[in-house]
């Protein structure tokens, strides 16, 4: 008797919770906080500073979404997730979205029942090697010892690349990026391979960065982007269009400095006015108010500003825009029209 009552209560709880989970936006508004899954620490992308505030390129996406939805860019609860726990944290509802340099692959999208809402960084796997070795191309790496993080897609890409080019290599398996730095500097391996953003960040920490070169070859595609779980398209739309708003803002010259002002005055460009909420009712369609995109852009700046602030060429990470430039500048960043 008691047990059946208990099970019944659980079922009811489960049903109500299930119904509630369908409307992620309402949950977030009721909670007053956005739960955003980030890495436990990756240079430039997400890291807690001395005051415990999270900073970084991925973190900025979370803040933009919080600003759009909750009108407060600080209303974010950052949940550190590891490579192993990230997808379950999302699937179980522990976090509302992941902004955690996650590569968009078919398996992760389809089989793990996630919804990638866009790409905020086009990455690719590269190689770093001491200049003294005189290697200028990855094709010359036959017989090299390679430091490689185990259990990642980079490990598989590496094997593919060497096999395709009919070369041999000796892997030195390591667990974390920090360990890789130590091993590489100690000479345990000739080459270190990981995502090229990671290589740049790692090289920036060396005493003599100019003694090391990053080879020109990029051997894989690593499109990194934020994702939400299957089952609530409305919520996925909000995250997707917040990211698109940041990219469109750069294209249209909206920055954190001028966006508020332009939103007051309006502009003579219809699309910009639609982003700013001066014309049309795009915000209403998303279930938000008119000023959602203004707040998202004002939170940290447009895509270009965020890039420059966290990982751009003036930061120690020092990444060039490259593939991540706007399509008008020869890059791949291309937001669908706001219409």
């Amino acid at each position: 008797m008691k047990k059946s009552v208990f099970l019944g209560a659980l079922t009811v709880a489960g049903l109500t919770a299930g119904a509630a989970a369908a409307a992620t936006l309402d949950d977030i508004k009721a909670r007053g906080k956005l739960n955003c899954g980030v890495t436990t620490g990756l240079v430039g992308f997400a890291a807690p500073d001395a005051n415990g505030e999270w900073q970084g390129f991925d973190v900025a996406v979370c803040r933009a979404v919080a600003a759009a939805v909750l009108e407060d860019k600080t209303a974010v609860e950052f949940v550190p997730t590891t490579g192993k726990t990230r997808f379950t944290a999302l699937a179980s509802g522990e976090v509302d979205m992941l902004a955690r340099n996650t590569t968009w692959t078919l398996t992760r999208d389809v089989d793990l029942k996630n919804e990638f809402v866009g790409i905020n960084y086009y990455d690719g796997q590269g190689f770093m090697i001491p200049k003294a070795l005189g290697v200028t191309s990855a094709k010359e790496l036959n017989g090299a010892t390679v430091c490689i993080q185990t259990g990642t897609t980079t490990e598989l890409n590496l094997a593919d690349f060497f096999r395709a080019n009919d070369m041999e290599y000796e892997p030195v398996p390591i667990e974390t990026n920090a360990e890789a730095q130590q091993q590489y500097l100690a000479g345990a391996c000739d080459v270190y391979t990981t995502d090229s953003s990671g290589l740049a960040a790692t090289r920036a920490t060396f005493e003599n960065p100019s003694d090391h070169v990053i080879l020109p070859e990029i051997i894989s595609k690593e499109p990194l982007g934020p994702l939400v779980r299957h089952g609530d398209q409305a919520w996925g739309d909000i995250v997707r269009w917040t990211l698109n708003a940041l990219i469109s803002a750069e294209e249209n010259g909206l920055t954190s400095a001028n966006v508020e002002e332009l939103a007051e005055k309006g502009t003579d460009k219809p699309e910009v006015n639609r982003i700013l909420g001066v014309e049309g009712n795009l915000g209403e369609m998303l279930g938000l108010d008119d000023r959602w995109a203004v707040r998202a852009i004002a939170a940290g700046g447009n895509y270009g500003e965020l890039f420059a602030k966290h990982i751009g060429e003036d930061t120690p990470v020092g990444l060039a825009r490259g593939l991540n430039a706007l399509w008008t500048d020869g890059g791949l960043m291309y937001a669908p029209p706001f219409r």
Binding site: G18, G41, A47, P48, T82, S92, Q181, T205
Partner: protein, 450 residues
């Protein structure tokens, strides 16, 4: 012929032993240079020690304390010593020691946005008052358990502490811990006074049911009502903000504190003659001991989320604590069973012949001896559990190891490695060494009649 015999009539004064046999010189000769092999080994050992220390001491002491980033550290090293190798950059510890100790726990929970550096105006409590007070009270609560000179009345405080500590750490209404404590009071009262009427076993069952009823259904309304009438609350702190060495201590203390009583019960259960109790105990112990802790942590972090209805917010730290406690209990139970098995049969028979019942025999005769035998094993288990708490970094909790990764992910400190681990190692060493010393002291004190 007269024979002359020499007979000494007075004692010669005592003489000092030859200088080569006494004092420091003698000790050195006897212990370090007593033969060619030992001489050789001594010289070799001195060489190794010199080699290690000549690298380590300059690294530790010729180091940089004031810098804002690793690059600045390196510049200072270059300016001071001409090279960067062999010098530690302790500036990272100076910059982040609070984070390594407390994680993101707000220094002034009343003002969640305040930093450590600038105390909010009008705030009179020192920073991190609550976790620090919880730690001080922990020692006060442990004192009567650890040292028999402390007055027994302090045990009352030990009983209260498990309810005070979570309230201090997590905050919230004072009535929640009071309500939970009331549940235990109900349990205790039913067993104590119902025993006569219902018999022991029935009293336990009724007591447990009554307590569950209270916690599950009634308590919520009562505490809510009391909140309305007498609202006493302190600002609450989210589990997510817990971290650093504080988190390690918190998980460690809870696991250690709970695993001893649970372990004793399990050990007794495993030696029990009652089939169900015995098989339940054996099953539990073997199942938990047969699974690596990291697996249990993944169950806590990942699998439980799937079992529970979506949206249920079952605190992750609570889940981890339960798992670590369960793990520690299984090991402690086996250590204590070892102690029970080592007792001669005569002790059990002696207890029986005095007419003591089961619990009296356990309390007065068996357990004091069995626990004494198992002290080294128990403490060793505890030290192991405490160090195992660092595994939680793998499921994304920011214990010191997890935080070191986060700190390294800052541009200023990326590339720093040994300094962080050295600091964390020091924290753990001090704690574990303390536990080990206590256990040795306890063993010596309890040694009887040898």
């Amino acid at each position: 012929m007269t024979q002359k015999a020499f007979v000494r009539t007075e004692m010669l004064p005592e003489q000092d032993p030859p200088p080569t046999e006494a004092g420091i010189v003698g000790w050195i000769r006897e212990n370090l240079f007593s033969g060619w092999l030992n001489t050789l080994l001594t010289l070799l050992a001195i060489g190794v020690i010199y080699y290690v220390l000549s690298g380590l001491l300059p690294w530790i002491f010729q180091s940089v304390w004031n810098a804002g980033s690793l690059d600045e550290c390196r510049e200072i090293m270059k300016a001071t010593w001409g090279e960067t190798h062999g010098h530690a950059c302790w500036a990272v510890i100076k910059d982040r020691w609070l984070q390594l100790l407390y994680g993101f726990y707000p220094p002034y929970p009343v003002y969640p946005d305040a930093n450590f550096g600038e105390a909010p105006v009008g705030h009179w409590l020192p920073a991190y008052f609550r976790p620090n007070l919880a730690l001080v009270l922990l020692f006060a609560a442990l004192a009567p358990v650890l040292f028999d000179r402390v007055p027994r009345k302090m045990l009352v405080f030990t009983a209260i502490y498990p309810f005070v500590m979570p309230w201090l750490m997590w905050g919230g209404s004072v009535w929640t811990p009071v309500g939970i404590a009331a549940g235990f009071a109900i349990l205790f009262a039913v067993i104590r006074y119902g025993q006569v009427a219902m018999g022991f076993l029935l009293a336990v069952i009724v007591g447990v049911l009554a307590a569950l009823l209270w916690w599950g259904l009634i308590m919520g309304y009562v505490t809510a009502g009391l909140d309305q009438i007498v609202p006493i609350a302190i600002p609450s702190v989210e589990s997510r903000e817990f971290g650093g060495f504080m988190l390690a201590i918190l998980i460690g203390v809870v696991a250690i504190g709970l695993s001893l009583p649970i372990g004793i019960v399990l050990a007794l259960g495993r030696r029990s003659d009652l089939l169900i109790i015995k098989s339940l105990s054996v099953g539990f112990i073997e199942l938990i001991r047969g699974v690596p802790l990291i697996t249990l942590l993944f169950v806590a972090s990942v699998l439980l989320n799937y079992f529970m209805p979506p949206g249920t917010d079952f605190d992750i730290i609570m889940r981890v604590m339960i798992m670590v406690t369960v793990f520690a209990s299984a090991y402690t139970a086996e250590v204590i069973r070892g102690g029970l098995a080592a007792l001669p049969k005569g002790q059990y028979e002696g207890a029986d012949s005095l007419g003591l019942d089961y619990w009296q025999a356990q309390r007065l005769i068996i357990m004091p001896q069995a626990l004494k035998i198992s002290i080294p094993g128990i403490v060793s288990t505890f030290i192991g559990v405490f160090k195992d708490t660092t595994l939680v970094s793998i499921i994304g909790l920011l214990d010191p190891i997890g935080l070191s990764q986060g700190i390294r992910a800052n541009q200023e400190w990326n590339g720093i490695y040994w300094e962080l681990f050295a600091f964390i190692a020091l924290l753990f060493f001090v704690t574990c060494f303390g536990m080990s010393r206590y256990s040795m002291w306890l063993e010596r004190k309890l040694q009887k009649g040898h």
